[in-house]
């Protein structure tokens, strides 16, 4: 199933239309509305198991038919577990599609970054809000002699919108269109239009603890000493009480 998703989720066509449509066709998705669109990002929880939260504030007037798609790249320091995504899809309705194969165990320095499609859904508690909560997991990093933490920056996603029944194009010129699956469970292709996020979108980051390279000698020495001592103690007991 995952492979199917990989195949389907590949960007099929990126078309650039030079013609902007008039505002009347746009189901109130005016340029003004687009400017009021706010995207906030956050990382919940601590440690190696976090949640990447992306929230869109579309205002109360946003049409019910509006759908959003976030194209999120993740650096090699973190990963998402495709099997966890599948189980969350059943439990919480999270819709996310992965483009690449993920090694769930490799350390950061032996991994690649990955890219995914995330479909935020309406937050029933807050009208006009769309939100996606994607669990991400930290990888082990190379030990360092520095602070003991490694900072991992997550770049802002690209935002794409579509609204059923409305004219295809929002009031953006020239619109960048992309064919991508219509939703997390509907693999048929829809046309999505990219919306530029405000420039003040910064990278968000998380910190993961890393081993202290300067301790390598005492750690190796201590480990070998203790294991050798334990080995001798057990061997001695076997020697004294075995061989009967």
């Amino acid at each position: 199933m995952v492979t199917k998703v990989f195949l389907c989720a590949i960007f099929l066509v990126v078309e650039i239309y030079g013609v902007a449509k008039t505002e009347e066709d746009n189901c109130d998705l005016s340029g003004e509305w687009l400017e009021s669109l706010k995207v906030t990002r956050d990382i919940w929880k601590m440690g190696f198991h976090r949640e990447l939260v992306t929230t869109m504030e579309c205002g109360r007037q946003s049409p019910e038919k509006l759908h959003a798609l976030l194209v999120q790249n993740l650096p090699r320091g973190v990963f998402v577990d495709p099997y966890q995504l599948a189980s969350l899809q059943q439990d919480t309705g999270l819709q996310a599609l992965l483009h690449s194969k993920v090694d769930l165990e490799a350390p950061a320095y032996e991994s690649n970054g990955l890219s995914m499609f995330v479909y935020p859904k309406r937050d029933p508690g807050r009208p006009g809000h769309l939100q996606a909560v994607v669990p991400i997991h930290g990888r082990y990093h190379r030990p360092s002699s520095g602070q003991g933490w490694e900072r991992i920056e997550i770049e802002p996603p690209r935002l794409f919108l579509r609204a059923n029944g409305c004219a295809q194009h929002l009031a953006v010129a020239p619109p960048v269109l992309m064919d991508a699956p219509c939703s997390g469970h509907n693999m048929s292709m829809c046309k999505w239009m990219e919306v530029q996020l405000p420039q003040d979108q910064r990278h968000i980051s998380l910190e993961l603890p890393v081993g202290d390279w300067s301790l390598a000698v005492p750690v190796c020495g201590g480990t070998l000493l203790v294991t050798l001592l334990c080995c001798v103690l057990i061997a001695n007991a076997i020697q004294r009480h075995g061989f009967q």
Partner: protein
Amino acid sequence: MDWMMATFFRKWSLFTFAFFVRVVLVVFGVYQDKTMIVKYTDIDYHVFTDASQFITEGASPYRRATYRYTPLLAWLLTPNVFLTPVFGKLLFVTCDVVSSYFMYNILRARGMSCQAACGYCSLWLLNPLSMGVSSRGNAESLLAVLVLSTLSCMERRHLAKAAFFYGLSVHMKIYPVTYALPLALSLRTRDKVSTGETKIPMGRRMARFLLGLLNRDLLQFFSIAGGVFCGLTLLFYHMYGWEFLQETYLYHLTRRDIRHNFSPYFYMLYLMAESSWSLALGLAAFLPQLALLLLASLAFHSDLAFCCFLHTAIFVSFNKVCTSQYFLWYLCLLPLVLPRLTLSLKQGLGLLVLWFAGQGIWLAPAYYLEFEGQNTFVLIWLAGLLFLAINTFILVQIISHYKQEDIRHIQKLD
């Protein structure tokens, strides 16, 4: 007649009760999985089920990432897909109870009374750890059944059956391969002459020892066990190719998991993962394990159950990767060892508390690292070393309080 019925009833009531509790836990697991955020089912169980799903589609089970087991397991669990998703859990809890039945047989064969044997079996049957692990869908109980059935058949000298179960157990998980030496030693022909032995030169004694290994029983045992193991390996190699060998065996042999675990070696291997010393350190970590396994085999092979217990405990404690499910590998042999220990109840409980304390001391910094993001690597490393020291202390206590001769508990009840 009455006492027979009474003991029979006691035995079956214990086993039935233990099975019933496990089934209730399985049912509760289904409920918890459906209603709560924290899931009851072990993550590995989903891995098994996904692998079985691939099998039913005619594909390789290794298409499921992190499936690192024999395809036999995925084949066994195909009813998870066809019949019900809890099939595997019911199989595992059944194995859990059946493994206790083999325990019971071994204890009875040693001349222990039914009630006393039931008492020792209840340490496994009513143990929350074994109940939890099997009902959460962890496959360790399959191994417990295979290892205990091997020992039970060995005790009764049913060598062909024992060899079959042994071959199968090594195929399922490679750790019982370390039992090969004690098994071989226990099957060898013993020297009959005992007078004037001290004068015999070392070379001649060695030759006599090696000749003793060439007997019918031993050859029969290892040809059957080897046949089962190689037959299954060839069959699955033919079906799934190199990937099967890589995932089932080579991965476990070359495993270098640098993420935190109970092993005393974890931090050293993590720090040195990319260093040119990595290989030498890996070897240095392997030597104590190897030396102790050899020594324990030579010293205790005449008491197979105890020898296998020591082997597993040493193997797990000194392993480069160690997680809590590995503890079950030796805990399932503990009820066979306990009756021959001369430790008092107080001492025994003291060791148990110490063992749990060792885990608790490790778990606290591990939690803070994993879920709070605090840099507790050094504390985890120290706790891992402390846990090894505790395990060593417990093992030394067990070895020095073990009586090899049988303590018979035959009680005339009528």
